[in-house]
């Protein structure tokens, strides 16, 4: 069956989403994964965006933004950021979320703010980045408040780092019980779904290990594309390939074929 790695990643992420969950979806791939899940196996999913767009499904393809008309054409409610990110996310009410990452480290900390030659934690000062990214948006709120959340990232050594340049959205910080000691209401990242497989946190150390990999890759390839010494789960699995039904549902959501454009 023909599909792209991006499509496989979106379907794999979608499979992690359970029916009935109250879920906040970031723009781009996370939205596709979420609405795919709703169409495929989670009809009672309750997705919303950080602007407070409720009850809608995309019309005409992947929305350009969380407030795009493609996601505003069949909503049951429009509220605001205080409501969506405050009352529903920071309060601890939302069940799940999907966020993206430019860099992610072994404890699931995410950087979406900038890339430095010498990051602030190494330089001991905060100078302008070599490359400015977007900042955290609502992902930092999600990382604090959602009961659990999923991280999607392209699996490359320069992105899967021992330590990220800048923590935009806190995962398990430096591991162990550090997150609990910080008093965050949410449970932290449940999985990192990459272009090569699924990483999950060790229950004690909170270090992410390889739980499953895609059939087109190998454990060695995943390790070679990870900058920390990636541990492998004793019962590591191969992620089942997308079914025809799953692909059909994903492509219904991704009507403009955004996931088929660059392999």
């Amino acid at each position: 069956m023909e599909y792209t790695k991006q499509e496989f990643m979106a379907i794999t992420t979608g499979r992690e989403i359970k029916d009935g969950e109250l879920i906040i979806l970031g723009v781009g791939l996370p939205m596709l994964a979420g609405y795919f899940a709703q169409l495929n196996h989670a009809p009672d999913l309750r997705p919303f965006t950080e602007g407070g767009v409720y009850g809608s499904t995309p019309v005409g393809g992947l929305p350009w933004g969380i407030e795009c008309n493609r996601i505003s054409a069949n909503a049951t409610s429009f509220t605001n950021a205080i409501d969506a990110l405050g009352f529903l996310v920071l309060s601890g009410r939302a069940d799940n979320a999907v966020i993206g990452a430019a860099q992610v480290d072994k404890y699931g900390n995410v950087n979406t703010t900038g890339i430095w030659d010498e990051p602030p934690w190494k330089a001991g000062k905060y100078l302008p980045p070599k490359v400015r990214l977007n900042g955290s948006g609502g992902a930092s709120d999600i990382s604090v408040g959602c009961k659990r959340y999923l991280i999607m990232a392209s699996h490359e050594k320069r992105r899967f780092m021992e330590r990220v340049d800048y923590i935009s959205s806190a995962g398990y910080l430096d591991g162990g019980d550090r997150r609990e000691r910080c008093g965050f209401v949410g449970g932290g990242p449940a999985a990192i779904i990459s272009t090569l497989g699924i990483l999950r946190p060790d229950p004690q150390t909170k270090e992410f290990w390889l739980d499953a990999y895609f059939p087109f890759t190998t454990i060695d390839e995943v390790k070679n594309n990870t900058a920390w010494e990636l541990k492998v789960s004793p019962d590591v699995k191969i992620v089942p390939e997308p079914t025809a039904e799953e692909l059909k549902n994903l492509r219904t959501v991704d009507a403009t074929g955004s996931l088929r454009k660059n392999g």
């Binding site: 602007g51 990110l85 920071l90 709120d141 806190a170």
Partner: protein, 329 residues
Amino acid sequence: MKNKLLSIQEAVEAYTWDGMTYCNGAALPVGSCSIAFGKEMVKQGRKNLNVICHCGSQQINLLAAVGAVDRVEVGFSGLEVYGFAAGLNRAVSSGKTLIEDYSNGAMALRFFGGAMNWPFVPATVCIHNDQQWCSADHPEEYPCTRKIPEITDPFTGKKYGAMRTIRPDVAAIHVTMADIYGNAIMLGTEWNRFEMSRASGKVVLVADQIVHTDCMRQYPNLVRIISEVVDAVVYWPYAAWPQASPGLYDSDEEHMFYMNKMMKTEADTREFCDQWVNSWNSHEEYMALIGEDKIVKISQTATAFLMDPYRKWIRSDAEIRELQSRTKG
């Protein structure tokens, strides 16, 4: 009630100045944002701005690209699926513009605190991460303890952060429709506009449509921005272009990418301004620039039905011109 209609030139002249703290609402990267107002600020040469964004949009992208922004506070600075904001990022990487990062939720809370005239809001977010430890205002200090200082909950003894609230000098807020007194209805997410309209010293509404006040009397629950907090109303259809206005028009995909590409270099930004910013004065000229085909295309939005209940109250251009001339009298 006072008729508050002003032309876009008059509103920028009266309500913006160099060095001000300026808020562009709703500052949605793809959707509602008072972009035409920001273009007029560029035309009038405003500079040294301290911009409170919540999210980036093509407005802050342009203002930063022309070098008008000294400092910006933001939760998200990109253009979502349209990419990184090339003009803003150029200004940040070069050191021209300082950028102070928060989360989107934090920005909303800080507006809320500003509207309440509180000194600070307690933070359960932007703590224990680099949004707390990195401050563009105090670059030599890492981890910074002054941006979001630690505070103790007096009831439980637990530790949290304190975030400064936001009280901008002026907010230029894009709305779907307003009456001439400054009552407004927004379609789509209101994002931060409710809080922003109460937190700002002065408020200018930039409205795609002007409606009769009877419309507000029919849907008073939907009037989230009230005349009591509004100083001026600018009538400017397609004010958010090339971004979207739910109910009225979609984002202009081609121009969104083109504009962002042009913000990458100073030379291209100048060329862009010559062609798309400094080339119009009247609204007719602005519309001619967008072009009739494009107007037709972006107006065929799947959200058009959202406007149905309000259409009968929309005032015509001729009526608005007549009302505008009375403001001057």
